[in-house]
Symmetry: C2
Subunit: 351 residues, 2 copies
């Protein structure tokens, strides 16, 4: 590498995006919100805001076909996009599906993958409206774009949280990460053996959270039914800590969350113990939970308290107070974004 | 490969897409047109139809960085999507840009690529509103989705051509293909030499057509200004013959085009002679011209005749008459879709 050249890993994903999209100013009236949130917001006219999000999934970077069945992969590929639309308080409506397919895949393989995508679409009421299909020289490439809608003005950004707002999270955290650890462990154990049967007994929930996540459209619906308009929202794909930092940065605020309020499933705790890992670290930094993290005005306290599957884990404070977790013993532990860096590990076996 | 498995190349791109998307029925009211045209058409409400298209570009399948400068690649990656929106009689408005980046690329490389994308967006008045960035183990991956609009009901599909409609084409054909031949020839000639200077003298137009195509938004504007509503439209990415067959298939009609009316640039003709290739074959089957192919009612004859850069090359006839070219000597030559098959050549060097 030339000395005037900068390694991409030195910037990280968000640093690179910031640099590439610097000083981009929308010129179209219809562009209400551009780069930098879970979705772009477009408002062409009428009563709807249109939400657009896209995800690129590459073999051996985002998924390992050693233990991910193609149908599950298809399902998850669709869900991660639906989740981004839900994270704007929206409803996913359409997707386009682009596939790069290498020679070792047959029509039947791709049908399996597509069956998973179609199942997710069926369950979530989403239409497949287009795509692109091409040969790939190196493994499977999946690029999905999702379009959704929200009533005009009701899409929730990352930037609207205010001092004293309550921080809420749906479901439980860390299970998908533990599922990944489990799958990786069984992969190592199975290497070179044909008689190997992976042992997931008592840990089915972890495996399911990793292989077959869901988008929390039910939470978006429940919020609307209860008349709660979140002030900021994001989905947890890179870990609670990282996502909370996004909200704080965009909203120019700080936060306090309580360690003992972070929702964690029993299986997650057992697995952490088995692997001798810190449970709270897994819940804070383990990604792919696809739960919703959102803030609501303090006045909605009673309403969110009554919501099933939603937990208040802390509150928003002034920016100068920083972002921290209050541990069980009452001390403050500064939050850091240790989410997965998709650019950290870019080797290039083919080039 | 198991004997019950089907090789993807046996179906081809369109066969595979047909099989995967079989019996997909949109469930959302907003989905006006799904899979199978240049764009999907969405109508959320209000006065606009929303158009969505997506393209996946993979290194060494769709582009060869030996002779494609990164800035040109970025420009072209955006343009091919704009072209699909123009092919619906629409205006491109927003794009999302997803990149898979392998380790040999630096920040400066990606900035070059992005500079090309941004230049195209600037010229065409399009906003970059999102994307995804990731490591790739498999060279450069570019996935762009474009959103555009057209006045409600004015988006033009492939399916609206009628008997007696005139077939029109913008610009000239075959030049991008000849540009590719030229670049490939110089690549071979340069192999292993450090002192090599490629010779493009007198062939600049061909190289430009290959490396820096444009989307014919000017034609879409001119059609609106002249009050012409095409009955069917498509952009020429896979070759005139292939695209015309798409219109005929979707519109359930046949066609006649005249060999001597196919617009061909002088440089294209010279290059074909030099390479000892059949010029008309290149114009019929050479791809990547990104010109617009459209049909208009016979009553618009005078109007299209007056349009600059548009040529009437034939007419639509009844389906049972088939699709044919009338050669210079007056004989009929049946048209076949010999466009580029992006799935024909899927080897898998890394897996």
């Amino acid at each position: 590498m030339n000395e005037n050249q900068t390694e991409i890993s030195s910037l990280g994903e968000f640093g690179l995006i910031d640099r590439l999209t610097e000083a981009i100013t929308p010129v179209n009236e219809a562009t209400a919100l551009g780069v930098g949130d879970d979705c772009a917001i477009l408002h062409y006219d009428g009563d709807k805001d249109i939400l657009v999000t896209t995800d690129l999934l590459l073999e051996n970077v985002h998924f390992d076909l050693t233990y991910v069945p193609l149908k599950h992969l298809g399902y998850k590929s669709a869900i991660v996009n639906f989740s981004d639309v839900c994270a704007m308080n929206g409803t996913p409506r359409q997707i386009t599906v682009s596939l790069g397919i290498s020679k070792r895949f047959t029509v039947e393989h791709i049908e399996e993958l597509y069956a998973g995508i179609r199942l997710a679409c069926e369950i979530y009421g989403v239409d497949i409206v287009g795509g692109d299909t091409s040969a790939s020289h190196q493994g499977l490439v999946i690029s999905i774009t999702c379009i959704g809608d929200a009533p005009h003005g009701k899409a929730v950004r990352r930037s609207g949280a205010h001092d004293t707002d309550l921080i809420c999270v749906s479901g439980d955290l860390g299970a998908a990460y533990m599922g990944l650890q489990l799958l990786e462990r069984e992969k190592v154990a199975s290497a070179g053996r044909t008689d190997f049967v992976p042992d997931f007994a008592g840990k089915e929930y972890l495996v399911e959270r990793q292989l077959k996540p869901e988008a929390r459209r039910d939470i978006v619906k429940a919020l609307a039914e209860k008349g709660i308009q979140p002030t900021a929202m994001i989905d947890i794909s890179d870990g609670l800590s990282s996502e909370l930092m996004h909200i704080c940065k965009e909203s120019k605020c700080g936060c306090r969350i309580y360690e003992d309020r972070i929702p964690i499933d029993y299986q997650t705790a057992v697995m952490a113990e088995e692997l001798n890992m810190n449970l709270v670290t897994a819940a804070l930094n383990g990604g792919e939970d696809y739960e919703l993290l959102f803030t609501v005005p303090l006045t909605d306290h009673e309403k969110v308290d009554k919501m099933e599957g939603v937990k208040v884990i802390g509150y928003i404070c002034k920016e100068e107070l920083g972002s921290a977790m209050i541990t069980r013993d009452g001390s403050e532990f500064p939050l850091r974004a240790q989410g997965w860096n998709p650019l950290a590990d870019a080797d290039d076996s083919a080039n």
